[in-house]
Protein backbone atom coordinates (compact mmCIF):
# COMPACT_ATOMS: atom_id res chain seq x y z
CA UNK A 1 0.00 0.00 0.00
CA UNK A 2 2.80 2.35 0.97
CA UNK A 3 4.67 1.49 -2.20
CA UNK A 4 1.59 2.32 -4.22
CA UNK A 5 1.27 5.74 -2.60
CA UNK A 6 4.92 6.44 -3.24
CA UNK A 7 4.49 5.58 -6.87
CA UNK A 8 1.33 7.63 -7.09
CA UNK A 9 3.11 10.58 -5.51
CA UNK A 10 5.92 10.32 -7.98
CA UNK A 11 3.46 10.15 -10.87
CA UNK A 12 1.65 13.24 -9.63
CA UNK A 13 4.91 15.10 -9.23
CA UNK A 14 6.07 14.05 -12.68
CA UNK A 15 2.86 15.10 -14.38
CA UNK A 16 2.79 18.41 -12.52
CA UNK A 17 6.27 19.14 -13.72
CA UNK A 18 5.91 17.94 -17.27
CA UNK A 19 2.22 18.23 -18.17
CA UNK A 20 0.71 20.97 -15.98
CA UNK A 21 3.57 23.35 -15.29
CA UNK A 22 1.59 26.44 -16.28
CA UNK A 23 -1.67 27.61 -17.88
CA UNK A 24 -0.37 27.14 -21.44
CA UNK A 25 1.04 23.68 -20.81
CA UNK A 26 -2.16 22.65 -19.03
CA UNK A 27 -4.21 23.85 -21.97
CA UNK A 28 -2.05 21.92 -24.45
CA UNK A 29 -2.20 18.77 -22.30
CA UNK A 30 -5.98 18.92 -22.07
CA UNK A 31 -6.39 19.57 -25.78
CA UNK A 32 -4.11 16.68 -26.69
CA UNK A 33 -5.97 14.37 -24.33
CA UNK A 34 -9.30 15.32 -25.86
CA UNK A 35 -7.82 14.73 -29.30
CA UNK A 36 -6.47 11.31 -28.29
CA UNK A 37 -9.78 10.23 -26.79
CA UNK A 38 -11.68 11.47 -29.80
CA UNK A 39 -9.46 9.57 -32.23
CA UNK A 40 -8.16 6.53 -30.41
CA UNK A 41 -11.39 5.14 -29.03
CA UNK A 42 -13.38 5.37 -32.26
CA UNK A 43 -10.45 3.76 -34.08
CA UNK A 44 -10.18 1.01 -31.47
CA UNK A 45 -13.94 0.43 -31.60
CA UNK A 46 -13.91 0.29 -35.36
CA UNK A 47 -10.85 -1.86 -35.83
CA UNK A 48 -11.22 -4.28 -32.91
CA UNK A 49 -14.18 -3.96 -30.55
CA UNK A 50 -16.93 -3.81 -33.15
CA UNK A 51 -15.04 -5.52 -35.95
CA UNK A 52 -16.34 -8.52 -37.84
CA UNK A 53 -13.89 -11.33 -38.24
CA UNK A 54 -15.47 -14.31 -39.87
CA UNK A 55 -18.80 -13.33 -41.28
CA UNK A 56 -20.61 -12.81 -44.55
CA UNK A 57 -20.75 -9.46 -46.29
CA UNK A 58 -24.38 -8.99 -45.21
CA UNK A 59 -23.53 -9.35 -41.52
CA UNK A 60 -20.66 -6.90 -41.98
CA UNK A 61 -22.96 -4.27 -43.44
CA UNK A 62 -25.48 -4.59 -40.61
CA UNK A 63 -22.86 -4.02 -37.92
CA UNK A 64 -20.77 -0.87 -37.70
CA UNK A 65 -17.15 -1.94 -37.25
CA UNK A 66 -14.40 -2.97 -39.60
CA UNK A 67 -15.08 -5.90 -41.82
CA UNK A 68 -11.96 -8.06 -41.56
CA UNK A 69 -14.01 -10.89 -43.04
CA UNK A 70 -13.45 -9.09 -46.33
CA UNK A 71 -9.70 -9.52 -45.92
CA UNK A 72 -10.15 -13.15 -44.97
CA UNK A 73 -12.16 -13.67 -48.12
CA UNK A 74 -9.85 -11.72 -50.41
CA UNK A 75 -6.40 -12.24 -48.87
CA UNK A 76 -5.53 -14.96 -51.29
CA UNK A 77 -6.30 -12.81 -54.30
CA UNK A 78 -4.66 -9.68 -52.83
CA UNK A 79 -1.50 -11.60 -51.99
CA UNK A 80 -1.11 -13.70 -55.11
CA UNK A 81 -3.24 -12.12 -57.86
CA UNK A 82 -3.95 -14.53 -60.71
CA UNK A 83 -1.02 -16.79 -59.94
CA UNK A 84 -2.44 -20.33 -60.36
CA UNK A 85 -3.86 -21.66 -57.13
CA UNK A 86 -2.16 -25.03 -57.37
CA UNK A 87 1.23 -23.36 -57.73
CA UNK A 88 0.84 -20.82 -54.95
CA UNK A 89 3.14 -22.77 -52.64
CA UNK A 90 5.94 -21.42 -54.80
CA UNK A 91 4.90 -17.86 -54.06
CA UNK A 92 4.56 -18.64 -50.35
CA UNK A 93 8.00 -20.21 -50.38
CA UNK A 94 9.39 -17.10 -52.09
CA UNK A 95 7.89 -14.74 -49.52
CA UNK A 96 8.97 -16.86 -46.56
CA UNK A 97 12.53 -17.06 -47.87
CA UNK A 98 12.73 -13.29 -47.93
CA UNK A 99 11.61 -13.22 -44.31
CA UNK A 100 14.22 -15.83 -43.54
CA UNK A 101 16.95 -13.69 -45.10
CA UNK A 102 15.76 -10.67 -43.11
CA UNK A 103 15.81 -12.78 -39.99
CA UNK A 104 19.28 -14.20 -40.59
CA UNK A 105 20.58 -10.75 -41.44
CA UNK A 106 20.05 -9.72 -37.83
CA UNK A 107 22.79 -11.93 -36.45
CA UNK A 108 26.34 -10.76 -36.70
CA UNK A 109 27.63 -14.30 -36.30
CA UNK A 110 25.99 -15.26 -39.57
CA UNK A 111 27.41 -12.35 -41.56
CA UNK A 112 29.64 -13.83 -44.17
CA UNK A 113 30.30 -13.96 -47.86
CA UNK A 114 27.70 -16.71 -48.07
CA UNK A 115 24.90 -14.59 -46.67
CA UNK A 116 25.75 -11.72 -49.00
CA UNK A 117 25.81 -14.12 -51.92
CA UNK A 118 22.50 -15.59 -50.80
CA UNK A 119 20.96 -12.11 -50.72
CA UNK A 120 22.42 -11.23 -54.11
CA UNK A 121 21.43 -14.45 -55.84
CA UNK A 122 18.13 -15.07 -54.13
CA UNK A 123 15.95 -12.66 -56.13
CA UNK A 124 17.01 -14.38 -59.34
CA UNK A 125 16.54 -17.88 -57.97
CA UNK A 126 13.18 -16.72 -56.68
CA UNK A 127 12.26 -15.48 -60.14
CA UNK A 128 13.17 -18.84 -61.65
CA UNK A 129 11.16 -20.66 -59.02
CA UNK A 130 8.14 -18.44 -59.60
CA UNK A 131 8.39 -18.68 -63.35
CA UNK A 132 9.14 -22.37 -63.61
CA UNK A 133 9.05 -23.73 -67.13
CA UNK A 134 11.55 -26.51 -66.60
CA UNK A 135 10.96 -30.18 -65.77
CA UNK A 136 9.20 -30.51 -62.43
CA UNK A 137 7.89 -26.96 -62.37
CA UNK A 138 5.08 -25.83 -64.59
CA UNK A 139 5.59 -22.54 -66.46
CA UNK A 140 3.72 -19.57 -65.02
CA UNK A 141 3.88 -16.66 -67.44
CA UNK A 142 5.08 -13.43 -65.93
CA UNK A 143 1.87 -11.75 -67.04
CA UNK A 144 -0.01 -13.96 -64.58
CA UNK A 145 2.06 -12.94 -61.60
CA UNK A 146 0.48 -10.62 -59.14
CA UNK A 147 0.21 -9.36 -55.61
CA UNK A 148 2.97 -9.53 -53.07
CA UNK A 149 5.46 -11.74 -54.97
CA UNK A 150 5.41 -9.33 -57.90
CA UNK A 151 5.98 -6.39 -55.59
CA UNK A 152 8.81 -8.19 -53.81
CA UNK A 153 10.35 -9.30 -57.05
CA UNK A 154 10.36 -5.81 -58.56
CA UNK A 155 11.77 -4.41 -55.34
CA UNK A 156 14.46 -6.95 -54.53
CA UNK A 157 15.76 -7.59 -58.02
CA UNK A 158 15.72 -3.81 -58.36
CA UNK A 159 17.77 -3.40 -55.20
CA UNK A 160 20.26 -6.13 -55.98
CA UNK A 161 20.94 -4.87 -59.50
CA UNK A 162 20.79 -1.13 -58.92
CA UNK A 163 23.21 -1.21 -55.99
CA UNK A 164 26.28 -2.29 -58.00
CA UNK A 165 25.12 -0.20 -60.95
CA UNK A 166 24.85 2.82 -58.70
CA UNK A 167 28.37 2.21 -57.39
CA UNK A 168 29.75 2.03 -60.93
CA UNK A 169 27.91 5.22 -61.88
CA UNK A 170 29.24 7.00 -58.80
CA UNK A 171 32.80 5.94 -59.64
CA UNK A 172 32.18 7.04 -63.22
CA UNK A 173 31.01 10.43 -62.07
CA UNK A 174 34.23 10.92 -60.12
CA UNK A 175 36.39 9.49 -62.86
CA UNK A 176 38.99 11.70 -64.49
CA UNK A 177 38.35 10.11 -67.86
CA UNK A 178 36.23 12.66 -69.72
CA UNK A 179 34.04 10.25 -71.70
CA UNK A 180 33.14 8.05 -68.75
CA UNK A 181 32.61 11.10 -66.57
CA UNK A 182 30.33 12.82 -69.09
CA UNK A 183 28.28 9.66 -69.70
CA UNK A 184 27.75 9.12 -65.98
CA UNK A 185 26.81 12.72 -65.31
CA UNK A 186 24.37 12.77 -68.24
CA UNK A 187 22.76 9.51 -67.20
CA UNK A 188 22.34 10.49 -63.57
CA UNK A 189 21.03 13.99 -64.26
CA UNK A 190 18.69 12.78 -66.99
CA UNK A 191 17.13 9.99 -64.96
CA UNK A 192 16.86 12.07 -61.80
CA UNK A 193 15.18 14.84 -63.71
CA UNK A 194 12.34 12.62 -64.88
CA UNK A 195 9.52 11.12 -62.80
CA UNK A 196 9.50 7.34 -62.37
CA UNK A 197 6.05 7.17 -63.96
CA UNK A 198 7.35 8.55 -67.22
CA UNK A 199 10.19 6.02 -67.29
CA UNK A 200 7.68 3.25 -66.67
CA UNK A 201 5.53 4.55 -69.53
CA UNK A 202 8.52 4.74 -71.82
CA UNK A 203 9.42 1.17 -70.93
CA UNK A 204 5.94 -0.15 -71.52
CA UNK A 205 4.77 1.93 -74.49
CA UNK A 206 7.74 3.32 -76.38
CA UNK A 207 10.34 0.63 -75.89
CA UNK A 208 8.37 -2.12 -77.73
CA UNK A 209 8.16 0.21 -80.77
CA UNK A 210 11.93 0.21 -80.97
CA UNK A 211 12.19 -3.56 -80.95
CA UNK A 212 12.32 -5.45 -84.24
CA UNK A 213 9.07 -7.04 -85.25
CA UNK A 214 8.22 -10.31 -83.61
CA UNK A 215 10.44 -9.70 -80.60
CA UNK A 216 8.58 -9.16 -77.39
CA UNK A 217 9.85 -8.66 -73.90
CA UNK A 218 7.59 -9.33 -70.98
CA UNK A 219 5.96 -6.29 -69.45
CA UNK A 220 7.24 -7.31 -66.03
CA UNK A 221 10.82 -7.27 -67.28
CA UNK A 222 10.33 -3.88 -68.87
CA UNK A 223 8.95 -2.50 -65.63
CA UNK A 224 11.83 -4.13 -63.79
CA UNK A 225 14.35 -2.50 -66.09
CA UNK A 226 12.70 0.89 -65.59
CA UNK A 227 12.88 0.52 -61.80
CA UNK A 228 16.56 -0.44 -62.01
CA UNK A 229 17.43 2.47 -64.30
CA UNK A 230 15.64 4.85 -61.98
CA UNK A 231 17.00 3.73 -58.65
CA UNK A 232 20.57 3.23 -59.83
CA UNK A 233 20.75 6.97 -60.60
CA UNK A 234 19.66 7.75 -57.04
CA UNK A 235 21.99 5.10 -55.66
CA UNK A 236 24.87 6.68 -57.57
CA UNK A 237 24.38 10.01 -55.83
CA UNK A 238 24.15 8.32 -52.44
CA UNK A 239 27.42 6.47 -53.04
CA UNK A 240 29.07 9.64 -54.35
CA UNK A 241 28.28 11.27 -51.03
CA UNK A 242 30.19 8.49 -49.30
CA UNK A 243 33.12 8.69 -51.70
CA UNK A 244 33.47 12.39 -51.03
CA UNK A 245 33.71 11.75 -47.32
CA UNK A 246 36.88 9.66 -47.72
CA UNK A 247 39.98 11.82 -47.14
CA UNK A 248 42.57 12.14 -49.90
CA UNK A 249 45.16 10.56 -47.64
CA UNK A 250 43.40 7.22 -47.97
CA UNK A 251 43.78 7.25 -51.74
CA UNK A 252 47.41 8.32 -51.41
CA UNK A 253 48.27 5.67 -48.85
CA UNK A 254 46.66 3.00 -51.03
CA UNK A 255 48.56 4.21 -54.08
CA UNK A 256 51.78 4.46 -52.09
CA UNK A 257 51.78 0.73 -51.38
CA UNK A 258 51.26 0.07 -55.08
CA UNK A 259 47.55 -0.72 -55.22
CA UNK A 260 45.96 -0.11 -58.60
CA UNK A 261 42.71 1.79 -59.20
CA UNK A 262 40.45 -1.23 -58.81
CA UNK A 263 42.21 -2.42 -55.67
CA UNK A 264 42.29 1.06 -54.16
CA UNK A 265 38.55 1.40 -54.67
CA UNK A 266 37.58 -2.15 -53.79
CA UNK A 267 39.81 -2.68 -50.77
CA UNK A 268 40.23 0.77 -49.27
CA UNK A 269 37.76 3.39 -50.45
CA UNK A 270 34.46 1.62 -51.10
CA UNK A 271 34.39 -0.43 -47.88
CA UNK A 272 34.61 2.84 -45.95
CA UNK A 273 32.37 4.88 -48.23
CA UNK A 274 29.56 2.33 -48.43
CA UNK A 275 29.56 1.98 -44.66
CA UNK A 276 29.10 5.72 -44.20
CA UNK A 277 26.11 5.77 -46.53
CA UNK A 278 24.17 2.84 -45.09
CA UNK A 279 21.31 5.05 -43.82
CA UNK A 280 20.66 6.88 -47.12
CA UNK A 281 21.18 3.60 -49.00
CA UNK A 282 18.42 1.92 -47.05
CA UNK A 283 16.36 5.05 -47.52
CA UNK A 284 16.68 4.62 -51.27
CA UNK A 285 15.85 0.92 -51.03
CA UNK A 286 12.72 1.56 -48.98
CA UNK A 287 11.74 4.25 -51.49
CA UNK A 288 12.23 1.79 -54.32
CA UNK A 289 10.14 -0.80 -52.50
CA UNK A 290 7.22 1.58 -52.16
CA UNK A 291 7.66 2.98 -55.66
CA UNK A 292 6.90 -0.46 -57.07
CA UNK A 293 3.26 0.40 -56.39
CA UNK A 294 3.46 2.76 -59.39
CA UNK A 295 3.54 -0.15 -61.84
CA UNK A 296 -0.24 -0.23 -61.65
CA UNK A 297 -0.26 2.52 -64.30
CA UNK A 298 1.10 0.09 -66.85
CA UNK A 299 -1.44 -2.40 -65.52
CA UNK A 300 0.84 -4.79 -63.75
CA UNK A 301 -1.01 -6.34 -60.85
CA UNK A 302 1.26 -5.62 -57.93
CA UNK A 303 0.05 -5.68 -54.33
CA UNK A 304 -1.72 -2.31 -54.46
CA UNK A 305 -3.33 -3.21 -57.79
CA UNK A 306 -4.75 -6.50 -56.52
CA UNK A 307 -5.94 -4.73 -53.40
CA UNK A 308 -7.87 -2.23 -55.47
CA UNK A 309 -9.14 -4.94 -57.80
CA UNK A 310 -10.56 -6.82 -54.85
CA UNK A 311 -12.88 -3.89 -54.11
CA UNK A 312 -14.77 -4.58 -57.33
CA UNK A 313 -16.39 -7.83 -56.22
CA UNK A 314 -20.12 -7.04 -56.29
CA UNK A 315 -20.76 -9.17 -53.25
CA UNK A 316 -18.15 -7.36 -51.16
CA UNK A 317 -18.56 -3.76 -52.27
CA UNK A 318 -17.69 -0.97 -49.88
CA UNK A 319 -14.80 -2.34 -47.85
CA UNK A 320 -11.96 -0.44 -49.41
CA UNK A 321 -10.76 1.05 -46.09
CA UNK A 322 -10.13 -2.43 -44.72
CA UNK A 323 -8.34 -3.35 -47.95
CA UNK A 324 -6.07 -0.33 -47.79
CA UNK A 325 -5.33 -1.04 -44.13
CA UNK A 326 -4.25 -4.54 -45.07
CA UNK A 327 -2.03 -3.36 -47.93
CA UNK A 328 -0.51 -0.62 -45.77
CA UNK A 329 0.22 -3.17 -43.08
CA UNK A 330 2.09 -5.43 -45.50
CA UNK A 331 4.13 -2.54 -46.91
CA UNK A 332 4.91 -1.43 -43.39
CA UNK A 333 6.11 -4.86 -42.26
CA UNK A 334 8.65 -5.08 -45.07
CA UNK A 335 9.87 -1.51 -44.74
CA UNK A 336 10.16 -1.99 -40.99
CA UNK A 337 12.29 -5.09 -41.44
CA UNK A 338 14.53 -3.33 -43.93
CA UNK A 339 15.03 -0.45 -41.54
CA UNK A 340 15.73 -2.83 -38.69
CA UNK A 341 18.32 -4.86 -40.53
CA UNK A 342 20.06 -1.67 -41.61
CA UNK A 343 20.06 -0.39 -38.05
CA UNK A 344 21.60 -3.65 -36.84
CA UNK A 345 24.28 -3.50 -39.50
CA UNK A 346 25.05 0.12 -38.63
CA UNK A 347 25.42 -0.47 -34.91
CA UNK A 348 27.46 -3.63 -35.41
CA UNK A 349 29.81 -1.99 -37.91
CA UNK A 350 30.45 1.08 -35.78
CA UNK A 351 31.82 -1.02 -32.92
Amino acid sequence: MKAFFLKWNRAVKWSRKNLFSGPLSTLITVLLMVFLFKTFFPLFNWAIAEAHWNTTAMECREGGGACWSFIGEKARYILFGHYPRSEQWRAVFFILSIFLLFFLGQFRRLWSKYLIWACAVFPFVGTLLMRGGFPGLELVKMEDWGGLPLTLLLAFVGIVVSYPLGILLALGRRSSMPVINALSVCYIELIRGVPLISILFMGSVMFPLLLPEGVTISKVLRAQAAMILFSSAYMAEVVRGGLQAIPRGQYEAAKAIGLGYGQTMGLVVLPQALKIVIPPTVNTFIGLFKDTSLVFIISLSDLLFTTKASFKDAEWLGFSVEGYFFAAFIYFVFCYFMGRVSFRIETEMSR
Binding site: A253, A256, I257, G258, L259, G260, L267, V268
Partner: protein, 249 residues
Protein backbone atom coordinates in the same frame (compact mmCIF):
# COMPACT_ATOMS: atom_id res chain seq x y z
CA UNK B 1 77.35 -5.16 -47.31
CA UNK B 2 80.21 -4.96 -49.77
CA UNK B 3 81.72 -1.78 -51.07
CA UNK B 4 80.40 -2.03 -54.60
CA UNK B 5 76.84 -2.28 -53.40
CA UNK B 6 77.31 0.65 -51.08
CA UNK B 7 77.75 2.94 -54.05
CA UNK B 8 74.69 1.74 -55.88
CA UNK B 9 72.26 4.55 -56.68
CA UNK B 10 68.69 3.89 -55.58
CA UNK B 11 67.02 7.08 -56.72
CA UNK B 12 68.35 9.52 -59.25
CA UNK B 13 66.68 12.82 -60.06
CA UNK B 14 67.88 15.07 -62.87
CA UNK B 15 66.62 18.51 -63.84
CA UNK B 16 63.26 18.13 -62.12
CA UNK B 17 60.69 20.89 -62.66
CA UNK B 18 57.13 21.10 -61.49
CA UNK B 19 54.43 23.72 -61.75
CA UNK B 20 51.13 24.08 -59.90
CA UNK B 21 49.37 26.20 -62.49
CA UNK B 22 51.56 29.31 -62.66
CA UNK B 23 53.40 28.52 -59.48
CA UNK B 24 56.84 27.09 -60.19
CA UNK B 25 57.22 24.81 -57.17
CA UNK B 26 60.32 22.81 -58.19
CA UNK B 27 63.00 24.62 -60.18
CA UNK B 28 65.55 22.19 -61.44
CA UNK B 29 66.28 19.62 -58.75
CA UNK B 30 69.22 17.25 -59.07
CA UNK B 31 69.56 14.59 -56.44
CA UNK B 32 71.03 11.10 -56.13
CA UNK B 33 70.28 8.80 -53.24
CA UNK B 34 72.71 5.94 -52.75
CA UNK B 35 72.00 2.64 -51.05
CA UNK B 36 71.77 2.91 -47.24
CA UNK B 37 72.04 6.68 -47.32
CA UNK B 38 69.94 8.81 -45.02
CA UNK B 39 69.03 12.16 -46.52
CA UNK B 40 67.22 14.79 -44.48
CA UNK B 41 65.50 17.62 -46.32
CA UNK B 42 64.56 20.76 -44.47
CA UNK B 43 63.45 24.22 -45.43
CA UNK B 44 60.66 26.73 -44.92
CA UNK B 45 57.07 25.73 -45.70
CA UNK B 46 56.19 26.10 -49.35
CA UNK B 47 59.77 25.46 -50.40
CA UNK B 48 58.80 22.29 -52.31
CA UNK B 49 60.15 19.61 -49.94
CA UNK B 50 56.96 17.59 -49.87
CA UNK B 51 56.36 18.04 -53.58
CA UNK B 52 59.85 16.71 -54.25
CA UNK B 53 59.45 13.46 -52.34
CA UNK B 54 55.89 13.00 -53.58
CA UNK B 55 57.28 13.11 -57.11
CA UNK B 56 59.58 10.19 -56.34
CA UNK B 57 56.68 7.73 -56.03
CA UNK B 58 54.47 9.48 -58.54
CA UNK B 59 51.88 10.85 -56.11
CA UNK B 60 52.59 14.13 -57.88
CA UNK B 61 53.52 14.05 -61.52
CA UNK B 62 56.52 16.10 -62.62
CA UNK B 63 56.52 18.37 -65.66
CA UNK B 64 60.17 18.20 -66.67
CA UNK B 65 63.22 16.14 -65.80
CA UNK B 66 63.96 12.50 -65.17
CA UNK B 67 63.38 10.38 -62.05
CA UNK B 68 64.83 6.88 -61.96
CA UNK B 69 64.24 4.38 -59.19
CA UNK B 70 66.61 1.41 -59.31
CA UNK B 71 67.28 2.06 -62.96
CA UNK B 72 63.57 2.21 -63.89
CA UNK B 73 62.48 5.57 -65.20
CA UNK B 74 59.26 6.95 -63.75
CA UNK B 75 56.94 7.54 -66.70
CA UNK B 76 53.27 8.38 -66.90
CA UNK B 77 52.43 4.75 -67.65
CA UNK B 78 50.19 3.44 -64.88
CA UNK B 79 51.78 -0.02 -64.68
CA UNK B 80 55.22 1.55 -64.46
CA UNK B 81 54.12 3.90 -61.67
CA UNK B 82 52.50 1.08 -59.71
CA UNK B 83 55.64 -1.00 -60.02
CA UNK B 84 57.78 1.84 -58.68
CA UNK B 85 55.34 2.56 -55.86
CA UNK B 86 55.55 -1.04 -54.71
CA UNK B 87 59.31 -0.53 -54.38
CA UNK B 88 59.18 2.90 -52.70
CA UNK B 89 57.70 3.08 -49.21
CA UNK B 90 56.08 6.26 -47.96
CA UNK B 91 55.16 7.46 -44.49
CA UNK B 92 52.76 10.40 -44.27
CA UNK B 93 52.33 13.23 -41.82
CA UNK B 94 48.76 12.11 -41.11
CA UNK B 95 49.64 8.37 -40.91
CA UNK B 96 46.82 7.52 -43.36
CA UNK B 97 46.19 4.08 -41.93
CA UNK B 98 43.09 2.31 -43.24
CA UNK B 99 40.60 2.69 -40.38
CA UNK B 100 38.34 -0.16 -41.48
CA UNK B 101 41.16 -2.72 -41.31
CA UNK B 102 42.97 -4.08 -38.27
CA UNK B 103 46.64 -3.26 -37.80
CA UNK B 104 47.61 -6.66 -39.18
CA UNK B 105 45.33 -6.24 -42.21
CA UNK B 106 46.79 -2.79 -42.83
CA UNK B 107 50.20 -4.38 -43.01
CA UNK B 108 49.30 -7.35 -45.18
CA UNK B 109 47.12 -5.53 -47.72
CA UNK B 110 49.99 -4.54 -49.97
CA UNK B 111 51.98 -7.80 -49.76
CA UNK B 112 48.89 -9.92 -50.46
CA UNK B 113 47.34 -7.86 -53.26
CA UNK B 114 50.34 -6.24 -54.89
CA UNK B 115 53.12 -8.76 -54.30
CA UNK B 116 50.76 -11.77 -54.32
CA UNK B 117 52.39 -13.24 -51.23
CA UNK B 118 50.35 -16.01 -49.51
CA UNK B 119 48.36 -14.74 -46.55
CA UNK B 120 50.13 -16.80 -43.88
CA UNK B 121 53.54 -15.70 -45.06
CA UNK B 122 52.45 -12.07 -45.30
CA UNK B 123 51.11 -12.20 -41.74
CA UNK B 124 54.30 -13.71 -40.39
CA UNK B 125 56.27 -10.97 -42.11
CA UNK B 126 53.86 -8.33 -40.78
CA UNK B 127 54.30 -9.53 -37.19
CA UNK B 128 58.03 -9.44 -37.72
CA UNK B 129 57.85 -5.82 -38.81
CA UNK B 130 55.51 -4.91 -35.96
CA UNK B 131 58.14 -6.26 -33.62
CA UNK B 132 60.67 -4.08 -35.35
CA UNK B 133 58.63 -0.97 -34.49
CA UNK B 134 57.95 -2.40 -31.00
CA UNK B 135 54.23 -2.66 -31.28
CA UNK B 136 53.50 -6.35 -31.95
CA UNK B 137 50.97 -6.51 -29.10
CA UNK B 138 48.63 -4.19 -31.04
CA UNK B 139 48.35 -6.42 -34.13
CA UNK B 140 44.66 -7.16 -33.77
CA UNK B 141 43.51 -3.69 -32.80
CA UNK B 142 42.09 -1.08 -35.16
CA UNK B 143 43.93 2.16 -35.94
CA UNK B 144 41.29 4.21 -34.09
CA UNK B 145 42.24 2.45 -30.85
CA UNK B 146 45.89 3.51 -31.03
CA UNK B 147 47.69 6.70 -30.04
CA UNK B 148 49.19 8.93 -32.70
CA UNK B 149 52.70 7.67 -32.06
CA UNK B 150 51.55 4.06 -32.28
CA UNK B 151 49.67 4.78 -35.49
CA UNK B 152 52.74 6.33 -37.07
CA UNK B 153 54.83 3.32 -36.10
CA UNK B 154 52.21 1.05 -37.66
CA UNK B 155 52.42 3.20 -40.80
CA UNK B 156 56.18 2.71 -40.84
CA UNK B 157 55.74 -1.04 -40.43
CA UNK B 158 53.20 -1.01 -43.27
CA UNK B 159 55.82 0.49 -45.56
CA UNK B 160 58.45 -1.98 -44.39
CA UNK B 161 56.18 -4.91 -45.21
CA UNK B 162 56.52 -4.11 -48.91
CA UNK B 163 60.26 -4.63 -48.48
CA UNK B 164 61.00 -1.33 -50.23
CA UNK B 165 64.31 -0.17 -51.70
CA UNK B 166 63.81 3.22 -50.16
CA UNK B 167 61.55 4.81 -47.54
CA UNK B 168 60.20 8.34 -47.94
CA UNK B 169 59.07 10.24 -44.84
CA UNK B 170 56.86 13.30 -45.31
CA UNK B 171 57.11 15.20 -42.00
CA UNK B 172 56.43 12.04 -40.00
CA UNK B 173 56.38 13.72 -36.60
CA UNK B 174 54.62 16.99 -37.38
CA UNK B 175 51.16 15.74 -36.44
CA UNK B 176 52.27 14.17 -33.16
CA UNK B 177 52.17 15.35 -29.58
CA UNK B 178 55.66 16.08 -28.22
CA UNK B 179 55.81 12.99 -26.02
CA UNK B 180 55.08 10.74 -28.99
CA UNK B 181 57.66 12.25 -31.31
CA UNK B 182 60.41 10.48 -29.42
CA UNK B 183 59.04 6.96 -29.89
CA UNK B 184 58.69 7.49 -33.64
CA UNK B 185 62.14 9.01 -33.99
CA UNK B 186 63.66 6.09 -32.07
CA UNK B 187 62.15 3.67 -34.55
CA UNK B 188 63.47 5.75 -37.44
CA UNK B 189 66.96 5.80 -35.91
CA UNK B 190 66.84 2.00 -35.58
CA UNK B 191 65.89 1.68 -39.24
CA UNK B 192 68.76 4.00 -40.17
CA UNK B 193 71.16 1.82 -38.25
CA UNK B 194 69.80 -1.24 -40.07
CA UNK B 195 70.95 0.35 -43.32
CA UNK B 196 67.58 1.23 -44.82
CA UNK B 197 67.76 3.95 -47.46
CA UNK B 198 65.69 6.92 -46.36
CA UNK B 199 64.71 10.39 -47.53
CA UNK B 200 63.18 12.31 -44.66
CA UNK B 201 61.46 15.67 -44.78
CA UNK B 202 61.56 16.89 -41.20
CA UNK B 203 62.37 19.72 -38.87
CA UNK B 204 63.74 17.37 -36.23
CA UNK B 205 67.31 18.62 -36.38
CA UNK B 206 68.54 16.22 -33.71
CA UNK B 207 67.50 13.34 -35.93
CA UNK B 208 69.45 14.92 -38.78
CA UNK B 209 72.50 15.40 -36.59
CA UNK B 210 72.53 11.86 -35.29
CA UNK B 211 71.86 9.73 -38.37
CA UNK B 212 71.79 11.74 -41.61
CA UNK B 213 74.53 11.28 -44.20
CA UNK B 214 73.44 14.44 -45.96
CA UNK B 215 71.29 17.38 -45.01
CA UNK B 216 69.60 19.30 -47.80
CA UNK B 217 68.22 22.80 -47.41
CA UNK B 218 65.50 23.78 -49.87
CA UNK B 219 64.00 27.18 -50.54
CA UNK B 220 61.73 28.40 -53.31
CA UNK B 221 61.90 25.16 -55.25
CA UNK B 222 65.68 24.80 -55.28
CA UNK B 223 68.21 22.84 -53.27
CA UNK B 224 70.23 25.69 -51.78
CA UNK B 225 72.66 23.68 -49.76
CA UNK B 226 73.72 20.05 -49.54
CA UNK B 227 76.12 19.21 -46.77
CA UNK B 228 77.14 16.71 -44.13
CA UNK B 229 75.35 17.30 -40.82
CA UNK B 230 78.50 18.62 -39.09
CA UNK B 231 79.17 21.15 -41.83
CA UNK B 232 75.50 22.00 -42.20
CA UNK B 233 74.92 22.88 -38.59
CA UNK B 234 78.38 24.22 -37.65
CA UNK B 235 79.38 26.15 -40.73
CA UNK B 236 76.54 26.57 -43.22
CA UNK B 237 77.64 27.99 -46.55
CA UNK B 238 74.65 30.09 -47.55
CA UNK B 239 73.04 33.13 -45.99
CA UNK B 240 69.56 31.66 -46.40
CA UNK B 241 70.60 28.47 -44.61
CA UNK B 242 72.03 30.51 -41.74
CA UNK B 243 68.83 32.52 -41.49
CA UNK B 244 66.70 29.38 -41.51
CA UNK B 245 68.82 27.66 -38.87
CA UNK B 246 68.77 30.72 -36.65
CA UNK B 247 64.99 30.66 -36.81
CA UNK B 248 64.44 27.04 -35.93
CA UNK B 249 67.28 26.20 -33.55
Amino acid sequence: MNQRKKTETVVEIKGLHKWYGDFHVLRGIDLAVKLSEIIVICGPSGSGKSSLIRCINGLEHHDKGVITVRGVELSSDVKNIEKIRADVGMVFQQFNLFPHLSVLENLTLGPIWVKKIPKAKAEACALENLKRVQIEEQAYKYPGQLSGGQQQRVAIARSLCMNPSILLFDEPTSALDPEMIKEVLEVMVDLAKDGITMVVVTHEMNFAKSVANWVLFMDEGEIIERNTPEQFFNSPQHERTKLFLSQIL
